[in-house]
Amino acid sequence: MAEEILLMKGNEAVAHAAIRCGCDGYFGYPITPQSEILETLAAEKPWETTGMVVLQAESEVASINMLYGGGGAGKRVMTSSSSPGVALMQEGLAYMAGAEIPGLIVNVQRGGPGLGTIQPSQGDYFQATRGGGNGDYYLIVLAPSSVQEMADFVDLSFELAFKYRIPVMMLSDGVIGQVMEKVVLPPFKPRRTEEEIIASCPWASTGRKAGRPINVITSLELQPEAMEKHNHHLQAKYDEIRKNEVRIEETMTDDADYLIVAFGSAARIAQKAIDDLRKEGIRVGLLRPITLWPFPYDRICELSTKVKGILTFEINAGQMVEDVRLAVEGRTPVTHYGKMGGIVPTPEEVIATLKDHFHITQ
């Protein structure tokens, strides 16, 4: 049978993908611009089909702690929110990181700081890639740039979350969450049985079977030596992830004189800018980090020796540009272009910035 092509919003695609990829539970609190995720799940009633639990929590604080509980009990659990709501979840995320609990957090970003605006933004880059809560930890951060990727990254997130016992954030934004595009939903995959969960998550608090030691999900350790050891264990895991899980997409970087680095919806705008610049004979390439953490430092470092300049384009005041500069280490000029108030920049603005900054007169 041919794949069914559907037209839907990114938020709706996440909900359908969750049901299809064996998600056990969704816990969330309404906030614009992502409420369609919970609304779609409520309308689909997956508890009657796959057995997936869907619960509207009393707050984002409760939602993330429901992820702690469900993930700590070995289940595939997820939540979604938007920027101010994700700010509320940071305590729980730090606890999940410390206790090594898998889970998926979808952040459909809006402008900030504070209550900000309901319009799209990429202003949570720092919060997502620097841990966000207390202590030395990272989340794996995936940045979808299409409705298709919002659907595809649900299963990928769960795979990574359980492989490394780490919370994974899908860092989307109000553009990708709200835009309607063609999408092919992932194939149905059954939820794991209780026996499969107990076998594949021997660390989970599922009820102690006679003969095995108790499982305790905790981030607490008062002995400094043991706490240090646990942190070394976490850092070794992060090194492993840095080594294995960097994901990028490159467009026309082979012969590029200039490079644009952009993620998520900004990468879509940058793509149009590059197409237009190429028509003018200006050789510009695009590097789109798909994982924002781990960040593609090595590849950007490599490309920085080949190009005359790099423009980092983000819908924020300049956050990822700090990582680009860390990768480039001064080898080539780096600049940033962005907007912050919920205004989505146009390809023309990107083109003008590139030409102006690098004095391209063509």
Partner: protein, 253 residues
């Protein structure tokens, strides 16, 4: 009769539950936590549900409850235990899922999680230790601190104009449609311990049988925080705490 004749197995009339391990407890002399821990272990063992029990420990003196009772546990962020228990129970519906929380955890920072889990009728049991003080952090005012009671953060006594009033969250819980069993007990005497055990058993059976939310408050002593001997603390609790926090079942359906 020699000593060995007396301690012969056939003469054994009492032993601690095997789920309660031999780890030295960190609780102070006279503290109620140790007795309540023992009751929980006894009830789980008597119900024969060791393999299906998952506890959620709080931030507070009972943060290390998982070191003493040999079942699976999750250690919660301060106040969030009912949210964590909600997810575990919904995702593993045949498990006994209970939280073990103090007054600061349950009735202050976690009030929203407590009220909403109970109001949704989550099939969990909440064991609520109310000693009217923050024990672990060193004796600060709790939401349940009595009027006039002195703590490190109300050193001249709790006053309504400065601190508001002691919160009867158990009475609030009894008004919620989602609760099926709400009880207030204590463990200061053998008779009280027997009643408290019955209440814990009822709450745990409700969780297993998915009858709705249960809350069992244990009015407790904190001899260190109250700066009293264990005996004085028990007397003070009987004279002052029981006057405000009346013992008995508030709701049982």
């Amino acid at each position: 009769m020699e000593r060995n004749d007396i301690i012969a197995p056939e003469n054994l009339v009492y032993k601690k539950p095997t789920l309660l391990n031999d780890t030295d407890m960190h609780y102070c002399p006279g503290c109620s936590h140790g007795v309540v821990h023992k009751l929980i272990a006894e009830v789980i063992e008597e119900m024969g549900i060791e393999e299906k029990a998952v506890g959620v420990s709080p931030v507070g003196c009972a943060v290390f409850a998982y070191k003493y009772i040999d079942i699976d546990w999750q250690e919660a962020a301060h106040g969030r235990a009912p949210a964590i228990a909600t997810a575990i129970k919904r995702l593993w519906p045949d498990r006994l899922v209970f939280t073990y929380q103090g007054d600061g955890d349950l009735a202050c920072i976690g009030t929203a999680e407590t009220i909403h889990a109970l109001n949704r009728g989550e099939n969990i049991a909440i064991i609520f230790i109310n000693n009217a003080i923050y024990g672990m952090t060193g004796g600060q005012m709790a939401p349940t601190t009595l009027m006039g009671m002195k703590t490190a953060t109300c050193p001249y006594g709790r006053q309504a104009d400065l601190h508001g009033y002691p919160l009867k969250i158990t009475e609030i819980a009894a008004t919620l449609e989602g609760t099926c069993f709400v009880s207030r007990q204590s463990v200061h005497s053998v008779a009280a311990i027997r009643k408290a055990k019955r209440a814990i058993r009822q709450a745990f059976e409700n969780s297993v049988n998915r009858r709705g939310s249960s809350l069992v408050e244990i009015v407790s002593t904190c001899s260190s925080g109250w700066k009293k001997t264990p005996i004085e603390a028990n007397q003070w609790m009987e004279e002052h705490m029981f006057e405000y926090y009346h013992l008995g079942d508030l709701k049982s359906i």
